[in-house]
């Protein structure tokens, strides 16, 4: 009888412990998204959050090859898109790199003890945009000219919003 009681108490303790751990984990995850970033204002990422936690690297890697070899940019899985949305402002209001200490990528990767190589080459802050200013103005001029001839589709907006990497 005493034995049964002890196991019941142990099981109950284990359950409470597991629940507490879940709460702590959930709290951690909430903390990774930086206040003031665009991501904090959105309810969800480009895919369901649970899926992104486990598979974001696969999506980014797939997009990487499509971009480098096929020239497809500005899709929802681009690394530039991740950075653009998850970069948060520092105390001075300037954006802080997503791979800086306590920022989105770094804090979670440190928790998971996984090294991240993206930022050896890519900057953790959006900079310069998909097109330089001169290229954008040339593109605008060309599109205007094309519209005059009646064969452009007026897609400057998408080019400006696109996040190429």
């Amino acid at each position: 009888m005493a034995r049964t009681l002890i196991s019941a108490v142990l099981a109950a303790l284990a359950l409470v412990g597991a629940l507490a751990a879940q709460v702590v984990l959930a709290g951690d995850a909430q903390g990774y998204v930086k206040a003031g970033s665009r991501a904090a204002a959105h309810g969800a990422c480009v895919e369901p959050t649970q899926y992104m936690r486990r598979h974001h690297m696969d999506l980014i890697q797939h997009q990487r090859d499509a971009t480098v070899y096929q020239g497809i940019r500005g899709t929802r899985h681009s690394l530039a898109g991740c950075i653009d949305c998850h970069v948060g402002p520092g105390s001075d209001g300037h954006p802080v790199a997503v791979n800086a200490e306590h920022q989105f990528c770094r804090s979670c990767h440190e928790f998971a003890a996984v090294k991240v190589n993206c930022f050896d080459c890519h900057d953790g802050v959006p900079k310069g945009g998909p097109l330089s200013e001169s290229a954008q103005s040339a593109l605008d001029a060309a599109t205007q000219q094309g519209r005059g001839r009646g064969n452009a589709d007026g897609s400057v907006r998408s080019a400006r919003e696109g996040q190429g990497q």
Partner: protein, 265 residues
Amino acid sequence: MMKHPPEGIDQGRRALLGVAVGVTTAVVAPGLVLHAAALPSAAPPGAQRSGPVTDRVRWGLLIDTSKCAEGCRACVDACDRENGLDLQTRPAGQSGRAWADQKAVWIRKVKLADDLTGRVTNLPMMCQHCEHPPCVDVCPTGASFKRADGIVLVDRHTCIGCRYCMMACPYQARSFIHEVTHDQLTRVPRGKGCVESCNLCVSRRDQGAPSTACADACADAGHHAIVFGDLKDPRSAISQALTGLPNRQLREDLELNTGVRYAGV
């Protein structure tokens, strides 16, 4: 004694083969035609690419050296700004001369002087975007590759930094990044241990912009020495200019069929 041909040729067999060929053609041909029709056509100006690059275009440059001014660096400076090359910093303790040799450069201004006649020619040298690029031949990992639209570039995710391509390039067009980099532009990532070179402003190509930074800057400076365009489109400005202007490839003896052509050298 001559051997006689067999008397009765089996006509039934021929008929069967004929029918088989006809049926195969009928089955396969519509597929081919539909496939060709489904390929995306050249994007209108200002359209961001949604499908993969195709070999229906081949990007190239024509450089008219007679219009290239001595001392002008408009194209080099524009390239530096466009591709974040001006953001490179000299490592502490390195001499200015060593840094000038080592830092990444995509366009070099070259001055040719004929000793006999004294004629001086100026020209910008960059990756020549060969049809048969030696850098791609020698790359051990396949990182150096030619995109379908003729742009030769490096997939820095697979580049191991062996610099074999730099040795193979007859135009000395490639640079190696020796130090850890910071503050890269979003459109031009750059990292230690990889090789890079002119990519004909590949992010501009993918966003549908009409020209390259160097060609724009040259036109803005009033020289109009650089023409950018599609070598496969007979109506493009570059094709028209190539038809009208005597021009050549540099080191044509190597038979690389370069995408960058020079007039007046």
